[in-house]
């Protein structure tokens, strides 16, 4: 029986309205604000903000963008954001792959322990995790204490460094990565792997030619999720990162609250959004590829 389309529309209307009202509208309004629109929904913030750019002629202006991009501190933070995101994403993907592979092909207490431990960060609030890591990486933290005890005087202090932020990002993104890649690996039938062994392929070739191509989609999805998460992270870099030349989250917060420059903070948000959009292209492509493959196999 064919249902009338109006029933479907009514069913989907509530979430669409909520998203449009509480996500879509503020987003459009914020974007307009970065372009100098201080009327309508932006009138309140426009009346409070400092160093605000409004168009001298016409309706919109790119002056806020010019100002933000001219700022060396922002540019350095932008580079730091991109580098930390890329490095942490690569590291977490490699690490996630290693744990997922071990879990798939070794069924024992060590494998279960490793998988379990890698999932733990998911249940620890970011702020708790960040402070724990801070303590661990601090000049008088466990890392250096153990280093000194072992006679390593120059053991590094990773607190308040971008390396610390990178390691923290790897830690916090590991659970989702392991879960996604494990799930992808679980979807590769054992007989496909057995067939490659039967053909004479060793572990490396099996991984490269059979396992990896069959798990490209979950790998890309996992990497995209990690990248987007790291790009927009705040707590971890705020607690664990350096004061300046940190990733954009804390700088955005400072610009918004401490400097009372919401327009410039929102420009930075738009930039982060743009970067996340680039990362999400890979996600969209992976989903498209996945859908096409299932269509062919149907």
């Amino acid at each position: 029986m064919r249902r009338r389309p109006v029933t479907g529309l009514l069913a989907i209307a509530p979430p669409v309205i909520v998203i449009a009202l509480f996500v879509g509208l503020p987003m459009v309004s914020a974007m307009l604000y970065t372009l100098g629109d201080t009327g309508g929904l932006n009138s309140t913030i426009g009346s409070i903000a400092q160093h605000q750019h409004t168009p001298e002629r016409g309706w919109l202006t790119l002056d806020a963008y010019r100002e933000v991009f001219a700022d060396e501190s922002f540019r350095a933070s932008l580079v730091a954001t991109i580098v930390v995101t890329l490095v942490a994403t690569v590291l977490v993907t490699i690490l996630g792959w290693g744990i997922a592979l071990y879990g798939r092909f070794h069924d024992g207490p060590l494998s279960r322990l490793l998988t379990g431990v890698s999932i733990v960060p998911m249940f620890i609030p970011a702020v708790i995790g960040a402070y724990s890591m801070l303590t661990f990486y601090a000049p008088n933290g466990m890392l250096r204490t153990i280093g000194l005890a072992l006679g390593w005087d120059s053991a590094p202090t990773l607190s308040y460094t971008l390396t610390g932020v990178t390691l923290g990002s790897v830690w916090s993104n590991l659970p989702l990565t392991v879960l996604l890649i494990s799930s992808g690996l679980g979807g590769v039938p054992q007989t496909l792997i057995d067939a490659s062994r039967d053909a004479g392929a060793g572990p490396v070739r099996r991984f490269r030619k059979v396992i990896l191509p069959l798990t490209t989609v979950p790998t890309i999805i996992a990497a995209t999720f990690s990248a987007i998460g790291i790009l927009g992270s705040f707590t971890l870099p705020y607690v664990l990162g350096p004061t300046a030349r940190n990733i954009l989250g804390p700088l955005m917060d400072d610009t918004y609250s401490a400097f009372n420059m919401p327009q410039q903070a929102q420009v930075m948000a738009v930039v982060v959004f743009g970067l996340a959009l680039v990362a999400s292209i890979a996600y969209v492509w992976a989903n498209y590829r996945s859908a096409r493959r299932s269509e062919v196999l149907r």
Binding site: P189, T191, L192, D194, A195, S196, R197, D198, A199, G200, A201, G202, R205, K209, V210, P213, L214, R293, V296, L297, R298
Partner: protein, 346 residues
């Protein structure tokens, strides 16, 4: 075929989850021979095949291919090729890439790979699908692609794990005949696992009927069918009637006291095993009295159930016959077993 064993299993034992899946199994396969491991689910036939392929290690025993002990070798290093039940073709590769994979692993040149792949796919009749991916070809074609992938590596032993179970009935018969033909042409020693007794009878040089991890009978199809060694084999292979009888010098007394004459049956409490095609229906008064209970037309023959001596049995008769009411039966041939079931007497 030569007398040298293409494959030899000695004392193979495998226990899984505390249960003995394969129990002290011996098996010899002549070079160039196609044998079937036939048995019900859980009898240990696939486990045996996986141990031959190296995907499982036996707890005890040895596996030799052409007199070379391969028990300790991993699947990558064994001279065996496996065709999996679900074909296990790599979905991201074309048919050509699937078949070429093993040759690339062996480091052959591109020209050699192309030549060997083309020969193999021609052998299985898939030349027109070289560029297709597995998802774009039919089940039968996938099965043949999997076969080409194995035989292109020229294994000493080809292992087929229920390769026809995913095909529909008609295609199964066609592909079965194709496999037999390809195996004859290539001369590869082959072990074919199936639970389908008709498939085994049609394709095998010899059949090893397995039950509870042991081989109950290992013989050519005809003796397995006509002279089952155990009651299990008699029951599992084909349709079989079993009649409880007390055999004396006067004849075989059935449950209700009816005495029938069956030549060559040992005296004592016996179970008579009679194939439905060995039960001939005749006019009332010309044999053992019987009554038609059911008559099921099955196309080219009829499955007639008759009541004889208080027990029901099946008789296969020509489709033109119309038996009804009171009739008589004559047993052309019977095998007898002890009631505990194991030793047969033909």
């Amino acid at each position: 075929m030569t007398d040298a064993p293409g494959l030899s299993l000695r004392g193979i034992t495998k226990t899984l989850g505390g249960r003995k899946i394969v129990d002290n199994l011996d098996l010899d396969v002549n070079a160039g021979e196609l044998i079937c491991l036939l048995g019900p689910s859980g009898c240990g036939k696939s486990t045996t095949l996986r141990m031959i392929g190296g995907f499982m290690n036996p707890d005890a025993g040895t596996i030799a291919v052409r007199d070379r002990d391969v028990t300790a070798l991993s699947p990558e290093r064994r001279p065996t090729g496996m065709v999996f039940q679900n074909y296990a073709l790599w979905p991201h590769m074309t048919v050509f890439q699937n078949v070429a994979f093993g040759l690339q692993v062996r480091g052959l040149s591109k020209a050699e790979i192309r030549e060997k792949v083309e020969t193999a796919v021609e052998l299985v009749g898939l030349s027109h699908h070289l560029r297709s991916r597995p998802g774009q070809i039919s089940g039968g074609e996938q099965q043949r692609a999997a076969l080409a992938r194995s035989i292109v590596l020229e294994p000493d032993v080809l292992l087929l794990d229920e390769p026809l179970s995913n095909l529909d009935a008609k295609l199964r018969v066609r592909v079965r005949d194709e496999i037999r033909e390809i195996q004859r042409r290539s001369g590869i020693t082959t072990v074919f696992v199936t639970h389908d007794q008709e498939e085994a009878l049609a394709i095998a040089d010899r059949i090893a009927v397995m039950n509870a991890g042991r081989i109950e009978q290992y013989d050519a199809p005809d003796p397995v069918y006509r002279q089952p060694a155990t009651r299990f084999v008699a029951n599992f292979v084909g349709t079989m009637n079993f009649l409880d009888a007390q055999v004396t010098s006067a004849g075989c007394a059935l449950r209700d006291g009816t005495v029938i004459q069956v030549p060559g049956v040992r005296q004592g409490t016996r179970v008579l095993a009679i194939r439905p095609e060995d039960v001939r229906l005749v006019e009332h008064g010309q044999g053992i009295p019987a009554r038609v209970v059911r008559d099921v037309p099955l196309g080219h023959y009829r499955d007639v159930t008759v009541s004889v001596g208080g027990q029901e049995l099946h008789a296969f008769t020509p489709s033109t016959a119309r038996p009804a009411g009171e009739v008589a039966v004559v047993f052309e041939r019977a095998v007898d077993f002890a009631p505990d079931g194991e030793t047969a007497h033909v």
